[in-house]
């Protein structure tokens, strides 16, 4: 077993294609992105300008107060100006502001276009409406807790801190790097590919020679999975270290929290490659093509090429991103570093783990057979 692992490890790390795609390519891509997009810590977040139109008859305009408190926060997230309806419409048309809030019992937002500033304005409004709904629910179900809830609701700084929309982490640059980490994890498929190519006697002469040796099938599968995963996990650690120490990208979350993500991410890349390779008797080139196609498509949907794509998919086909491993990895990292949403982070990891188990089980079912119809 020791020699099996040792030589399998040596063979894999000396295979240029297995070093290039899962390791060098992400390094090159990270470097290119670093220079083309800019450093995360230097990313200059522009304050979102908006107007608020206050209804004349509003006795107590809670929403305007909420916006004022947000503006006072030192994050520089938004800049609010109170305007008349006509003046606000003119400013929006001239591009002086990105949106208009109409305050009232149920505030509404008008924007002229779509993009990151408009998304922030929308999120602010949704936060307010959710809080308002919460208060109404408490008043209806637990009136005794109303006073405490109102006190907490009035503490706007609490709201802004938890939502974590302020500061540098709101920039879209981070999303590119998270998607890059997601893509790099998936590129472990190349290592998984080679492992299965060398285990199925109907795919290569080398595999046939190994299959006629007196080694149990399960021993082969476990040792190959362990070696492939180990190599790719180290690849990912190197990539993370490169981002942190060479590119000096500052992720606001803890690196310790990122380790489980890249650990499970590495495993899903490897198992995805093993699963794709184990299906059918297509040629090596076809299988590599399928793997590149699948991993690039998943990375694209996770926002690697355009950060807005992930949001578009989230809005229109949310299930797709909950089943896309690249999006889940990116999302888990975003949860860790931006949203501060531990529940969603855990949920992402659980979904990824389940996927790993399913892919590994699927691969095992296919390659466990020891006799073939044709070779």
């Amino acid at each position: 077993m020791r020699e099996m692992i040792k030589y399998s490890f040596l063979a894999k790390i000396r295979d240029f294609s297995l070093v290039f795609w899962p390791l060098i390519f992400p390094f090159v891509l990270a470097t290119a992105m670093y220079f083309s997009i800019g450093q995360m810590e230097e990313a200059d977040f522009e304050t979102v300008r908006a107007a608020v139109v206050v209804k004349q008859n509003a006795e107590e305009d809670v929403f305007s107060d909420y916006l004022s408190e947000l503006e006072k926060d030192d994050s520089g997230l938004i800049s609010i100006q109170e305007m008349s309806e006509s003046k606000a419409a003119g400013a929006l048309a001239d591009g002086e502001i990105e949106g208009i809030y109409y305050s009232g019992d149920t505030p509404v937002l008008t924007v002229d276009g779509s993009g990151f500033p408009q998304s922030i304005l929308q999120m602010i409004l949704e936060s307010y409406l959710e809080g308002k709904q919460t208060l109404e629910d408490i008043a209806r179900l637990h009136p005794e807790g109303m006073e405490a809830a109102v006190r907490q609701m009035a503490d706007y700084s609490y709201v802004t801190e938890e939502v974590s929309l302020g500061g540098r982490t709101t920039n879209t640059t981070a999303q590119f790097f998270y998607a890059l980490i997601g893509m790099s994890c998936l590129y472990g498929c190349f290592i998984g590919f080679r492992s299965v190519m060398e285990l199925q006697a109907n795919l290569s002469a080398l595999a046939a020679r190994r299959c006629v040796s007196p080694v149990h099938r399960m021993q082969w599968i476990l040792s190959e999975t362990a070696v492939s995963f180990g190599i790719h996990f180290v690849n990912m650690l190197l990539l993370l270290a490169y981002m942190k120490y060479i590119l000096r990208l500052e992720f606001t979350g803890t690196y310790a929290g990122m380790l489980p993500v890249i650990c499970i991410g590495s495993l899903i890349g490897v198992t995805m490659g093993m699963f794709i390779t184990s299906i059918g008797k297509m040629g090596e080139g076809v299988k590599i093509g399928i793997m590149i196609g699948v991993s690039m498509t998943l990375s694209f949907l996770a926002g690697l090429m355009n950060a807005d794509i992930k949001n578009v998919v989230d809005r229109n086909a949310p299930l797709l991103n909950r089943l896309n491993p690249a999006a889940l990895i990116s999302d888990a990292l975003y949860c860790l570093n931006v949203y501060d949403a531990p529940e969603r982070y855990i949920q992402d990891l659980v979904i990824l783990s389940v996927m790993c188990v399913l892919l590994l089980a699927g691969t095992f079912v296919i390659i466990r057979r020891e006799r073939y119809d044709s070779i």
Binding site: Y7, A205, P214, R217, D373
Partner: protein, 309 residues
């Protein structure tokens, strides 16, 4: 050592092995001879429990051969038709790796690996990677990986394809040496000269069937041809051919492009009789050949086609 009974293997509508039977005794160098597509490699893959088959039974060392028969597998060495080594491991590490699948004891393995390297003559290439080896040396490495653990049964599937004559001779000598050391050898090839040179018994295969089995002498005695006489640059008419055909022991006369080919049963003086007729009729001629039957003649006479078709 190996007993195969009524083995049937189909690929869809194609019958690759058609009630194939074979019995190989311990200590033999057994040749499986047949043209490409005759079923040799399929038979080997069935023997190794890599391929499913439709009917029949395979027993090796007295036991039914199944994928989980590790005791039997431990005593088999296989040299594949395609080179099956790691490009990323050097000569020594490749041999050590494959040997380690069979031999756990590190010291014993070290000795066996050195023996194998010496055996195939790769002492000067221990640290060389397969891509730097010539075709012949690569084939030798392929063999070393299959035999390093000193198996009782060695199966070599066309090990000399695309090999230079020097390496081929080295490989063939090596196979005989392995046999002398106690291994039973199963050797498949479509090169009849190789099979004739080293095999103690031979099975000729065609269309998935074993059409003749025996020593080379036994196989040759199965056919009528005892001698083939060829005379070049000769001009003959039909009457001359009839006269030659009427000679005793002659059973086939062909005349193509001024070449006379006469097949005779085994007898003395066939050539003298044929040349006597030409001399009598004052017919000039060029070069003259007399050949004893080959396995190709055996194949030709049994199947009606050349072995290398």
């Amino acid at each position: 050592m190996i007993k195969i009974e009524n083995l049937v293997k189909r690929y869809g509508n194609i019958v690759a092995l058609d009630h194939f039977n074979l019995e190989i005794e311990e200590g033999e160098i057994f040749g499986l001879l047949g043209p490409n597509g005759s079923g040799k490699t399929t038979a080997i893959n069935c023997m190794l429990a890599l391929l499913k088959y439709d009917r029949g039974s395979i027993r090796i060392m007295g036991r039914e051969m199944t994928p989980d028969n590790y005791d039997v597998k431990r005593q088999i060495g296989i040299v594949m038709q395609d080179v099956a080594v790691f490009d990323e491991l050097n000569v020594h590490d490749n041999i050590d790796y494959f040997c380690s699948l069979y031999i756990k004891d590190k010291n014993k393995r070290k000795e066996l690996v050195e023996d194998a390297i010496r055996f195939v003559g790769l002492e000067d290439y221990r640290k060389t990677y397969p891509k730097k080896l010539s075709g012949g040396l690569l084939r030798r490495l392929n063999i070393a990986c299959g035999i390093a653990h000193k198996p009782r049964l060695i199966i070599l599937d066309e090990p000399t394809v695309a090999v230079d004559p020097q390496s081929r001779n080295k490989i063939l000598e090596g196979i005989c040496e392995l046999n002398r050391q106690g291994s039973t050898i199963v050797y498949t090839s479509h090169y009849m000269e190789e099979v004739e040179q080293i095999c103690t018994r031979i099975a000729i295969m065609d269309h998935g069937r074993s059409i003749a089995v025996g020593t080379k002498e036994e196989l040759k005695s199965m056919i009528k041809t005892g001698e083939t006489v060829t005379i070049e640059a000769v001009i003959l008419d039909q009457e001359d051919l009839t006269d030659i055909g009427n000679l005793p022991h002659v059973f086939d006369v062909r005349y193509e492009e001024q070449r006379l080919i006469v097949r005779c049963t085994g007898a003395k003086h066939n050539l003298i009789h044929i040349l006597g007729i030409l001399q009598e009729k004052d017919i000039p001629f060029g070069r003259v050949f007399s050949e004893l039957p080959t396995l190709n003649d055996v194949f030709l006479e049994i199947t009606g086609k050349q072995l290398r078709n």
